[in-house]
Symmetry: C3
Subunit: 386 residues, 3 copies
């Protein structure tokens, strides 16, 4: 149970907020490589409005949305080379945000030299564009295992959820929901007596669950938390007998009340492919599946749970138990990160050693019996990575 003040401290992530400062010390997906072109696109992340485009040199540019002159939104502007021109009075900015031209100002004016937009570091990897909104020096981008996988079917899917980012991050380490929220789809642990524990790792936390009475290794199930906002798990094969779908899921805070999910899914296959898809859903509408315990398809169950806690969950009235140890641990890591920044240090799990940039998760999915053969079950299993 948090006080109302503690909850506010954790959930608010706009510019200048303490948690906003923490989350700005990490790389976050801001777009998909194949969609970033010379037409500038507007986006919002961590409560900040930005514009993203690809200049002539081929590198993406991530800058503040509004022109320094009269605050016009630059997604209405025009890319010239690597630079971006505002449509209102023609001010031109280079990729670093430096103003290069103010056409109406007198010849020889030095005014433009004093004008600079915020511009943020960007890099691309595995089909994603990542941005870093924090202070220099930027840490290394974690090269998570799924991102590095090749020779197979890879897909990126972007989805929205109408809720604060912390609801989502709690869902990552809250593994006891598997046996209930997703329990109908996965009979091997659905409604079974399961025990849970959490193990701190360099990258974050391993979530470990074991069915009571079965202590051999094949009956534990490990999903992983990449601090601060990443989830690593496997889902059932797309087709029976196929390979499990390796998944990394970034939960990107848009602002205090909405979140964008970037799924990266991969499975080994002779058929090599890469695809990008988007699915934007209105709040409160979930794919029905009558045969499921809750009447909702497994592909929408997490979104339902996260939204239906309320946009910002009321943590002043929550009741956490032993099985919520992951949530308690994660919140402590957030608070430790707040403290670290206050002391001028890096927050947790920031990578400064290039030897540690490649991150392999301890993910292990052994309890994946599912209802795929149930003629009444639809949707969820096939949705991934197609």
């Amino acid at each position: 149970m948090l006080s109302q003040e503690e909850n506010e401290l954790l959930v608010r992530i706009g510019p200048g907020t303490p948690m906003g400062e923490v989350l700005r010390r990490y790389w976050h997906p801001v777009g998909v490589s194949q969609e970033v072109a010379s037409k500038p696109q507007r986006l919002k992340i961590l409560g900040e409005e930005l514009v993203l485009y690809r200049g002539a040199s081929g590198a993406p540019v991530l800058m503040q949305l509004r022109c320094a002159h009269r605050s016009l939104a630059l997604d209405y502007g025009r890319v010239e080379g690597d630079a971006l021109r505002c449509p209102y009075h023609g001010w031109l900015y280079d990729r670093a945000g430096q103003c290069l031209e103010q056409p109406a100002e007198p010849e020889g004016s030095a005014f433009k030299d004093k004008v600079r937009l915020k511009s943020y570091r960007v890099q691309e990897f595995s089909g994603l564009v990542f941005g870093y909104l924090g202070p220099d020096p930027a840490p290394f981008l974690p090269l998570y295992d799924v991102l590095r996988m090749e020779d197979g079917v890879k897909g990126i899917q972007i989805r929205n959820v109408n809720a604060n980012w912390l609801n989502h991050v709690e869902n990552i380490v809250d593994i006891s929901h598997l046996a209930w929220l997703h329990g109908y789809a996965y009979p091997s642990y659905g409604a079974k007596k399961v025990t849970y524990h959490w193990e701190r790792q360099d990258y974050g936390v391993d979530n470990v669950m074991a069915i009571e009475g079965k202590n051999d290794d094949s009956d534990t199930h490990v999903s992983c938390y990449g601090f601060p906002t990443v989830n690593r798990f496997n889902v059932s094969p797309v087709k029976p007998g196929g390979a499990q779908v390796r998944t990394v899921l970034y939960r990107v805070p848009v602002d205090d009340s909405s979140t964008l999910l970037y799924f990266v899914r991969f499975y080994p296959s002779d058929k090599k492919s890469f695809s990008v898809s988007r699915r934007m859903d209105p709040p409160g509408q979930y794919q029905r599946l009558e045969s499921d315990w809750w009447g909702i398809d497994v592909a929408d169950q997490d979104r339902m749970a996260i939204e239906q806690q309320g946009v910002i969950a009321d943590r002043a009235n929550e009741h956490l138990g032993v099985s919520d140890g992951g949530i308690i641990l994660m919140r402590k890591m957030m608070r430790d990160s707040l403290t670290a920044i206050a002391e001028g240090k890096d927050p947790l799990c920031v990578i400064r050693d290039p030897a540690k940039q490649k991150v392999d998760f301890n993910q292990k999915a052994t309890l994946m019996d599912d209802r795929r053969d149930d003629p009444n079950y639809a949707g969820g299993f096939g949705a991934a990575a197609e």
Copy 2:
């Protein structure tokens, strides 16, 4: 004329507000019996979000909407017997709100014993489900005359209005609007010189109107106010020569800016029937009727008047006259109820004596000549009780 502070005191009815405390001392309709089943439904009343369902024992259950664990909305849950299970982690609550199961917690944990949801008293009568959100002991449910009527045609209609509850309650005791807002439909008093007075009764207030110069009893017209939110009146027969339609109208505060109306209508008939209907209208859209003075069908005139005062009427700039005596009296009754509660007593018109549970109103509708035979008049008269 009220000060802005006095107006705020009267209109706000959420949890913890003084008027919210007053209104919580009465039973209010929360649903319709035939619609309450094992699928939990979400509702809001007095600014409080609740869930309503019917358990296996047949009795309705009215509980707080959100699970005590992680605040999930329980209308997404599943009824098991009389109990309700949360879909997120399977916590199970009995009809009194007591937590029975926390499946992920260790064997033998006493944690669940300490967790209890708010659960409210419910009873059913005349096709309605009533809830009581106040402290024990609950008073008796007033068994209003129309609710007790049988051997005829009975109908329940639920409508919404996008305005604060007090606009509505003022409309109950504000009988001088009949001669104008509804005056075209009722020529016997429409635009006539009418006098008004109000008489306090055990159940609330009688609104008495008399056409000037006609002092015999047949020319008075009495509608009634069941304190704090109920209206009792008759409307014209559905068919010429038929019986007047007896009506009880509950005005249920949803929150500070919206209200739900529960009409219970009855007329004696050999044809016995019972029906339930709903009509949800967007604000500002009213059924047009060009021949009416105001261009709006009589069935929508009150909704227009109540919404078009503003969601919360600006009582700091109102001007009340002698003909607004009912409003002045009603507000005094509200203030007396606030005082009573502050002194640890019951507010007005609460029934503690079982001998007084059956309430018969002094309703008398003698001035019901109407435009039903006018080929240009439509809608309103036939709308009731069909």
Copy 3:
């Protein structure tokens, strides 16, 4: 650059605000003569809700929206002669707002004499209805040149913009945007090196631009600012070889976040005509024109620029240069007007001398080469005055 406080002072125009007091000292369009009839219409101006109708005597009436009795919106009422009756209880108000009847009050009551609605001065000219919301004595209505023009094609167009009024007024004196925002459509100055200066006039300001290196008179271009919210300019002829379209554009503050534009357009022609049109657009949707530099038709470019500064522009982070001299001058005139009112004087450009009521602007449009013959250019030029 303004402080946040200075910006708030300038943008807020509701009742009781300092800038609201300034703008109330001028006449503003509140409707179009041919549309004002006995059906009362609701409107909002300067954050105030009003009702406008035409009484039997033929004169328009402009009154506060809400009945003094119980705050009902009087656009649901009925005009009787020049008076307006409230539908709720039949209170009747004359055109000056004086209450004439309160039908439910006792015979001989003097209560009605004490009740009066705010009613505002109205006059009609050139097809427009103007209202004056300030204190007496009202100044003269400026009879701008375009309003007085006859013997030709005249059109009034009403459009909406979802932004604060000051964004618009800045756009009037901000003439350096012509060479860029509208630069593709007008090659004679599009992306050219242009110099700017501003000249104070009795009516406001002349905006003067000259293309560098061309100093003869035919190469200057003058548009005008009628203080506080009026723009005077010419646009290209509707048909090649025709006369330029003289335009007066009123930017009417609806409330702090929206503005209504009244265009009055005229060109001399043997074909005499008069038309009224409306175009209401949702925010963020602009007519696409791929061949334009910015992909937006010239008729929507200003609306884009004004909305895309943000509903209230962030002037605490703006950077004004030499070419923004008009904006700096205009803001000084606003501040001088605030000071004048604080000292009990008229604000700037108020007309008290009848000899000065006819206002002729120094408008001169000599740089009007345009893309009308470009088969890829559409829309904008033909939109005017048709």
